[in-house]
């Protein structure tokens, strides 16, 4: 260990010792310690400067760490919720075949909870009410998923707006409105409107691709399209249709059509010839999804897995081999397999078994996917490692910055306490002449530092709590009044600023604030304790 390290560690070790000494002095030492400590705190306004400095430092560190740590936590949670525990994927839109064999083998591994395939594709969406002239036209990432199974793997189902309670409420609303209109005519008749029944049926089959409104509504919306009622359902990211946060959803959004043009890629596809490889279809918008991940909510639309698979020609098909003339079967493809594990199972520990199962299927069917489009098995955090490690490095950098801030706070407390000790030299002489020991004198100033740390840290915590818990409202207010927008959802991926504080961070940061204050008071306290009472009494 280098001499500098020895000095640094000594300082780190001295701070808790001095804090314990100050606490013991207050509790078991002379009554004068606590008396003068609090009296100085109230009467010596210069000490308030150090108190405010400790408060601001604590609040600043807590706010930044809470937002940054909260962001990291949110990022991890939402990505975990979107992906599941593990993922098998290819870095190519043409996907991979024999996924059903892989899924069957993976499902046999002890500890696996559920397995489901998904497809990711690109498309162009044109969203609008049938009778409105200005539809939304936007490029989208189309995700195909099995809505009945996806809930066992990730949190997609929880991101849907039309949850069972919302659907029940809508059903009740329609029934009551109809009953109210009809009561005047026939009060005894119990009315159940088609809308109420439709919402109720969707609630009963939740989660499903079922449309929330009755077929006739859709027919009425597009009378010229004979098969309008048969259009399938599509779920869109809330941001795709311009919804933010808890914006209210009007019923008319469930009468919107989505014209979706998909870029089809076959297994042997070599060039992106869009003219030959697109498919266009119409869907009714049946729900919106709000995962909290900006990228997903702004860009993703969701279709049933089999619908998307068929649209992309990724389903199983037969063809005649031109060379042999034999009928061959082209197996079905997907782009991802999402896997969840049972509670208590470490995804990292189970990953090798999944890799083995995938490799066995590849080997069995003689499949080979070379880099960069190789088939990979990764845990959810490995999939996001580039992003996660970058943010974690940033957090480490911040910790270093905050260490520097702590040193500044220590020096500030030191300077102010040094001034106070100089100013109070005669008082120190008086107290010593009346019988205070050097330990008691040290106790007064260390206790004073401890009090500044506790009050400053406590006030900083309160300030940070108020700011962090109202940070989104504050941010909106700043944007409204001063045009300041610090949080850009496009950059930070979430449309809201994290507003929770971690108990561990709070304990560590407030403790460091208290220790720093005591450390800052240490040298002045030692100086005060070593004063000769006669010289102190003569101090001018």
């Amino acid at each position: 260990m280098s001499p500098i390290e020895i000095i640094l560690w000594s300082i780190v070790a001295i701070a808790p010792i001095a804090t314990v000494f100050a606490l013991i002095s207050i509790l078991t030492g002379p009554r004068l310690i606590s008396k003068l400590m609090f009296r100085y705190l109230v009467k010596r306004r210069i000490a308030w400067v150090s108190l405010i400095a400790v408060m601001l430092c604590t609040a600043m560190v807590l706010i930044v760490i809470s937002v940054m740590g909260g962001w990291l936590r949110m990022f991890r949670q939402t990505n975990h919720a979107l992906i599941g525990d593990l993922i098998v994927y290819r870095g190519s839109l043409d996907g991979f075949s024999h996924y059903e064999d892989m899924m069957a083998d993976i499902a046999k591994i002890p500890g696996i909870k559920a397995v489901t395939p998904t497809i990711h594709a690109v498309g162009l969406a044109e969203i609008g009410l049938a009778r409105t002239p200005n539809p939304i036209r936007t490029p989208v990432e189309v995700v195909g998923l099995d809505i009945k199974r996806i809930g066992q793997v990730n949190g997609f189902v929880d991101s849907l707006h039309l949850q069972p309670d919302v659907l029940h409420a809508k059903s009740k609303e329609f029934a009551e409105a109809a009953q109210k209109d009809h009561d005047a005519v026939s009060p005894d008749e119990n009315l159940e409107t088609a809308e109420a029944k439709s919402f109720q049926a969707k609630a009963d089959s939740f989660p499903s691709w079922q449309k929330p409104l009755p077929d006739e509504v859709y027919r009425d919306e597009l009378p010229k399209a004979k098969n309008a009622a048969r259009f399938g359902g599509i779920v869109v990211g809330s941001g795709v249709i311009g919804l933010r946060g808890n914006d209210p959803r009007e019923d008319f959004i469930y009468k919107a059509t989505v014209k979706l043009t998909l870029l089809k890629i076959s297994g042997d596809f070599a060039s992106a010839d869009l003219q030959d490889k697109t498919s266009t279809n119409y869907y009714w918008l049946i729900d919106d999804s709000r995962t909290g991940v900006y990228q997903a909510d702004q860009n993703f639309v969701y279709l049933p897995f089999d619908v998307l698979q068929n649209e992309l020609n990724m389903g199983a098909s037969t063809y005649t081999d031109a060379n042999t003339g034999h009928q061959e079967t082209e197996p079905a493809r997907c782009t991802e397999i999402l896997i969840s594990v049972n509670p208590g199972i470490d995804p990292h520990a189970i990953k090798p078994q999944i890799s083995d199962a995938v490799s066995a299927v590849l080997q069995k069917f003689g499949l080979y996917y070379p880099d960069p489009g190789a088939l990979r098995v990764e845990t959810w955090d490995e999939k996001q490692r580039d992003f996660l490690s970058a943010v974690e490095h940033e957090k480490s950098l911040l910790v270093i910055l905050f260490a520097i801030i702590s040193v500044v706070a220590i020096f500030l407390v030191f300077c102010i306490f040094f001034m106070i000790v100089m100013e109070k030299t005669r008082d120190i002489g008086i107290v010593k002449s009346v019988g205070a020991t050097s330990y008691s004198i040290a106790g007064i100033f260390l206790g004073y530092g401890l009090t500044i740390g506790i009050f400053g840290g406590g006030m900083g915590l309160l300030m940070a709590y108020l700011v962090v818990h109202n940070i989104n409202q504050l941010h909106a207010w700043m944007g409204e009044h001063f045009g300041i927008q610090i949080w850009n959802a496009k950059t930070y991926l979430f449309d809201t600023i994290p507003n929770t504080m971690d108990a561990y961070d709070v304990i560590v940061i407030v403790s460091v604030a208290i220790l720093s204050s005591v450390l800052g008071a240490l040298v002045p306290a030692i100086r005060a304790a070593r004063m000769n009472p006669v010289e102190a009494l003569r101090w001018e």
């Binding site: 008396k35 100085y40 107290v431 009346v434 019988g435 009472p533």
Partner: protein, 248 residues
């Protein structure tokens, strides 16, 4: 009284027996390369219940002698004993306990703490002697004692006032009450009237005389004023670093 104080103190000596002695006391101040010998060979015996006045010109070393006798400072030679024990051999914390429980100090410039009110300043030595919990347990008793002393000093109407709102005479009365709070066996008074007008000084001296006459309080007072020194049982003059007896 604290346990430490019990160890230091012994049963009160009979009135007239020696309580505090100094022999061959020497004190030198260093000012850069030069040395100033303030006390060269001071011998002194203070008997219990005695009122001694030490007289001398300004700068003669009176206050220095008082600080040495009161265990506030350390000598460069000689021995001071309290109750037969060498003060120099006590640890600094034991000397602090001695100052807290056995000695009381009254200074020329009062030396009250500006952050505390009259009652709290009076309670200062009790707040040093007792812990947070100990003080709470005896709070009523201690406050009554402080109030009694302040009543004796005619200050019972200013309990909540801060020192800066008091006159010089009032401050000195509070300082005397503070010095008496822990029932000291020796009261050291350093020019107690030096900062007061004649009439107020006379009143303060009357307080000290009453303490001595009614309670048998041992008092060691330094002054440059012969008329005040004459109020004491015995007058000693400090001149040229040596202490000698003087006629009243």
């Amino acid at each position: 009284m604290s346990a430490t104080a019990d160890k230091i103190s012994s049963p009160p000596p009979a009135k007239g027996s020696a309580i505090l002695t100094a022999s061959g006391l020497r004190k030198v101040f260093r000012m850069g390369d030069s040395e100033i010998q303030v006390l060269s060979k001071v011998d002194l015996t203070v008997a219990s219940g005695e009122f001694i006045a030490i007289e001398g010109r300004s700068g003669s070393g009176k206050s220095t002698l008082l600080h040495l006798l009161g265990a506030l400072d350390e000598s460069n030679g000689g021995v001071i004993t309290y109750d037969g024990r060498d003060i120099a051999k006590l640890s600094s914390s034991r000397r602090a306990t001695l100052r807290n429980t056995q000695f009381g100090f009254v200074f020329q410039f009062y030396h009250l703490l500006p952050e505390l009110n009259v009652l709290e300043n009076t309670l200062l030595s009790a707040m040093i002697e007792n812990s947070l919990l100990g003080f709470r347990a005896k709070k009523a008793e201690l406050r009554n004692r402080a109030k009694d002393l302040l009543t004796q000093m005619g200050m019972d109407h200013r309990l909540r006032h801060r020192p800066q709102h008091l006159s010089g005479g009032e401050r000195q009365r509070v300082a005397i009450a503070r010095a008496l709070m822990n029932n000291p066996r020796v009261l050291f008074a350093d020019e107690p009237t030096g900062n007061l007008d004649f009439e107020t000084g006379r009143q303060i001296m009357a307080v000290l005389e009453r303490l001595h006459q009614q309670s048998g309080q041992t008092i060691v007072m330094v002054t440059h004023d012969r008329s005040l020194a004459c109020k004491a049982d015995r007058i000693l003059v400090l001149e040229g670093g040596i202490l000698r007896a003087a006629e009243k």
